[in-house]
């Protein structure tokens, strides 16, 4: 999760998010260069005492400042498109999980091997333990094996929601009557938080998502525990 006064992106927990961070750095560099150039030009022009009274046109400079931004856009667009198609790639997923958005909680179904279904409600303030994150903790987390390619199918039962986990670079609209597919792969063990990202009513801000990436053995033990409890 983000730390207080954090401005930048969170550390990546998936390969796709790593690529997004690199792309963000690349575009930020281009933007800073352009901004510095503009600020410098503004400073020079404002502080200059000279006025050219007979300026009527500038065909050469207009051509230059049309062609150069076009080149800059190509430099930005090429990695952008590559990343866009990378996010759609799904490499032989070993697990499929369905996430269904309701007003105002998420429910998850692991139906590949067994029938594991549970709801995930936000923990209210009174139920938090000391040190828990307010508005982010849930009663039942999404437990996933680490370094495993997972297919996440996202849908909704009533209105449009959006399933988001920023650390993994994931965001997908949960649309009723439609299944949207996400490629999910956690590179490291940890807990990753997200919040609903599509306005869905009064408690839209109070239906978070928590993913717990664990070693495979721990995941298997969790599955057994879930089946036993059901």
């Amino acid at each position: 999760m983000a730390t207080p006064a954090q401005l930048g992106l969170m550390d990546a927990a998936s390969p796709v998010m790593e690529e997004m961070i690199y792309f963000h750095d690349h575009v930020m560099l281009v933007l800073i260069l352009i901004t510095c150039l503009i600020f410098y030009s503004m400073l020079v022009l404002i502080s200059s005492k000279y006025i050219y009274r007979f300026l009527t046109d500038g065909h050469v400079i207009e051509t230059v400042w049309t062609v150069i931004p076009a080149i800059i856009l190509v430099v930005v667009a090429l990695p952008s498109l590559k990343l866009l198609y990378l996010t759609d790639e799904l490499d032989s997923p070993q697990l499929t999980i369905k996430g269904v958005g309701h007003q105002w909680y998420w429910s998850y179904e692991y139906t590949d091997y067994y029938d594991i279904e549970f709801d995930s409600y936000m923990l209210p303030l009174g139920d938090l333990n000391k040190g828990d994150a307010r508005l982010l903790e849930v009663d039942n987390r999404v437990v996933l094996p680490v370094d495993t390619s997972v297919r996440m199918l996202v849908t909704a039962a009533d209105v449009i929601h959006a399933w988001t986990v920023p650390s993994l670079g994931l965001k997908m609209d949960a649309v009723p009557g439609r299944l949207n597919q996400l490629a999910l792969q956690c590179s490291r063990v940890g807990t990753f938080y997200g919040q609903c990202s599509e306005i869905c009513g009064a408690n839209h801000s109070f239906m978070p998502i928590v993913i717990e990436a664990v070693p495979v053995e721990t995941f298997e033990a969790w599955c057994d525990a879930m089946l036993d409890s059901e």
């Binding site: 730390t3 207080p4 954090q6 990546a12």
Partner: protein, 227 residues
């Protein structure tokens, strides 16, 4: 075509007759000639409109002037204004006095209606300039110009008013916010107090939150202290 028709078409820069006298002119100068006529027409009609007369009356008065000045000879058209027969471009064609550092010579003097003393001074100016005292020279300058170049370019200090006013308003918003916080807003949840924040940070370190460049990367796990 009659002269009256010519004057009616003058505002549009069209001179339908008399083309024979420009037949020897090259086509480029031909176009510039028509442009010169149009610009002179606009200025001329503007002057007429300032006198507040009807259009028909103006045209009746204009006919003899037009015939005399422009209708027959290109050489007369070329005589007015800037290079190649075109009048010099003016930023302020309406003959209003303006102090502009980039156009330091306005079309009209600052004081146009002179008192008797000023008229006498102007008459003295027509003579030998060495006879004018420093005070008289300054007076003559001030008749012609409102401000010197240095005065026109001098900073006004307006920025102080703007910065001061903006700072005052921002300070007022701070006061309003403090009043709202003290009397109107509800209490912050217990998760915002120091002990809870400390416990939260311990938990984040335990679960290796942001271990690459973020929080957990700054903690030395072997020695249990910050790096």
């Amino acid at each position: 075509m009659s002269y009256k028709c010519m004057t009616l078409l003058r505002p549009f820069g069209i001179l339908p007759v008399g083309l024979s006298h420009v037949a020897h002119v090259r086509s480029f100068e031909f176009i510039r000639f028509f442009l010169a006529i149009s610009i002179q027409n606009c200025r001329f009609l503007n002057t007429l409109s300032q006198k507040g007369r009807t259009m028909a009356h103006q045209l009746m008065r204009a006919v003899p002037r037009l015939v005399a000045r422009r209708a027959f000879s290109t050489s007369l058209a070329r005589a007015g204004g800037g290079a190649g027969g075109m009048p010099a471009w003016q930023v302020n064609p309406r003959n209003v006095y303006e102090d502009r550092p980039d156009f330091p010579m306005p079309n009209v003097p600052y004081v146009s209606e002179l008192s008797d003393a000023q008229k006498a001074l102007k008459a003295k100016e027509a003579g030998d300039w060495k006879s004018l005292s420093d005070e008289e020279l300054k007076e003559l300058y001030r008749l012609k110009f409102h401000k010197t170049l240095a005065e026109a370019e001098a900073p006004t200090g307006e920025w102080k008013t703007v910065v001061g006013g903006t700072s005052l308003i921002i300070a007022l918003t701070f006061v309003l916010y403090i009043i709202q916080k003290k009397y109107a807003m509800p209490a912050m949840p217990e998760t915002c107090n120091y002990e809870w924040q400390e416990a939260m940070m311990k938990k984040q370190l335990q679960m290796r939150n942001n271990p690459v460049e973020g929080l957990a990367s700054k903690w030395d796990y072997e020695n249990n202290k910050w790096k």
